[in-house]
Symmetry: C2
Subunit: 203 residues, 2 copies
DNA sequence: CGTTGAAACGGACCCAGGGTCCGTATTCTA
DNA sequence: TAGAATACGGACCCTGGGTCCGTTTCAACG
C-alpha cells in the first residue's frame, strides 16, 4: 500500500515525509486551524509546491491522513469478526459500529475535527461519511420493525460528530468509557422498534 | 427592541441597514461563504469600518441576525402556551422543542449554516447552543427513568444540526413534513425509558 | 443658530494563509 | 551519459477578515 504507483522515488519519499509531519503537527497543536500548509511543508522539509502537487489542496491532505488511519477499522468492518464484521446480527452490529466510530474520533480528535469543519462544503459530501451512512443505513434496514433508516442513520452518526466528541472530552471532561457507555445507551434506545411509543416502563 | 440605547441616530440607522442587507444577502446567496463582509457593507451602503464597529466581527454580525430571528421562539418557549411553553409535560415538550428547532433551521437554512460552521471555535461554545442544551437537559431530567440527560440532550440536538438539515433538505430533497415526522419518530424512540432494551416489539 | 467636542464614518491599508508558477534540480531510460 | 520527463521549492498572487485614522456628522449648550 505504501508505493502508490508513481515512478520517481523522491516523490514517494516526500509524500511520506509530508504525511508524517502533518500527522505530528495535527496531533501536537491545540487547534487544527493553527496548522498552516506552510507549517506542514516546513516541518516536512519540503516546499509548498511539492505539498500541493502531492495532495491537491488542504482537504486532500486531511483526507489522505484520515483514510490512512481509518483503514484498520474499515477492514474490521468489511471482513472482520463480530461484533464489527458482517456476520454480526444487525441489532448488535449497530452499537458496535457507532462505538468504533466514537473510539476512532476520540483517538484522532484533532484530525477528525480538522476534516469535519474543513470549511467549504459540508461534511455530508465527503465520501467517507457517505460510506458510513450507507453501511449503517443498510444494517438498520435489517432490523425488523424499524423505519426511517436513512434519517436514523444520519441522526446516530450526528451523535458522534467530531466537534461534539471534542466538546464532551475537552470541556465537559467526560471520560472515554463514560462517553462510550452513554452513546451505547442512546443507540440502544433509538433502536427500540415496534408500535409502542411514549411508554413509561415499569420501574 | 429596535432602539439599542445609543445616542446618535445615524449609528442606529446604519445598524438596521446592515442587518437588513446581511439578511437579504444570506438568504439570497447559495452558500454563506460567498457573502463577504465587504459585500454586506456595500449592500448596506456603508463602509467596512462602520460594519465592524457595530458588530465586532463576522461572528458578531451572524449572532445578531440569529438572535433576532430566534426571539419569537425564545418567547414561546419561555412564557408561551403548550406545547412549547413551560406548562407542558416533559414527555410532550421535548419533541415540541426539537420540532421548533428543526423548523427554525429549515426556515433559516443559510443563516444557521453560516453561524454553525463559523470557523473558529466549535458551535458548542456559542451561548445560544448552551441555552438550548441546558433547557433540553433540564426537561429531560424530569422524565422518570431517563438517565444521561446531558448526553441525550447533546445527541438529540445533533440531529438538528444546520448542515445535516441542509443536506437532507437540499441533497436528499426530503420535504419539510417528512423531516419533521422522522425527527419526531426518532425523538420518541430516544425517550423510551425503563429497564427494557433491545426488545423487538410485537407487530 | 453657531460652536465644539464627542462619536461615527468609510475606505485605504495591513496581514495571514491557501494556492499557483516557473526556472532549476533530480531521476529515469536508453 | 545525454535527454526527456518529472519533481522541486519558494517567490508570488489573491481573497477576505480586520484595523487605522483623517474627515464628517450629530447633539448639546450657549
Amino acid at each position: 500500500m505504501p508505493a502508490r504507483q508513481s515512478s520517481r522515488k523522491d516523490a514517494i519519499r516526500n509524500r511520506e515525509a509530508v504525511l508524517a509531519a502533518a500527522e505530528a503537527l495535527f496531533t501536537r497543536r491545540e487547534s487544527p486551524e493553527d496548522v498552516t500548509m506552510a507549517d506542514v511543508a516546513a516541518a516536512a522539509g519540503v516546499g509548498k509546491g511539492t505539498l500541493f502537487r502531492a495532495f491537491g489542496d488542504r482537504a486532500g491532505l486531511l483526507r489522505a491522513l484520515y483514510e490512512a488511519r481509518l483503514e484498520p477499522i474499515r477492514q474490521a468492518v468489511e471482513t472482520g469478526p463480530a461484533p464489527l464484521g458482517p456476520a454480526t446480527s444487525p441489532r448488535d452490529r449497530v452499537p458496535a459500529l457507532l462505538d468504533a466510530i466514537l473510539c476512532f474520533k476520540l483517538d484522532n480528535r484533532r484530525l477528525a475535527l480538522a476534516l469535519e469543519e474543513g470549511g467549504s462544503s459540508s461534511p455530508y459530501r465527503a465520501e467517507h461519511y457517505e460510506r458510513w451512512h450507507h453501511l449503517l443505513r443498510t444494517v438498520l434496514e435489517q432490523i425488523p420493525g424499524l423505519t426511517n433508516s436513512d434519517f436514523t442513520a444520519h441522526a446516530l452518526l450526528a451523535a458522534t460528530r467530531a466537534d461534539l466528541v471534542e466538546h464532551l472530552a475537552g470541556e465537559e471532561r467526560i471520560p472515554r468509557e463514560g462517553m462510550r457507555a452513554q452513546l451505547a445507551n442512546f443507540v440502544t434506545r433509538a433502536l427500540v422498534s415496534g408500535p409502542l411509543q411514549g411508554l413509561t416502563a415499569e420501574e
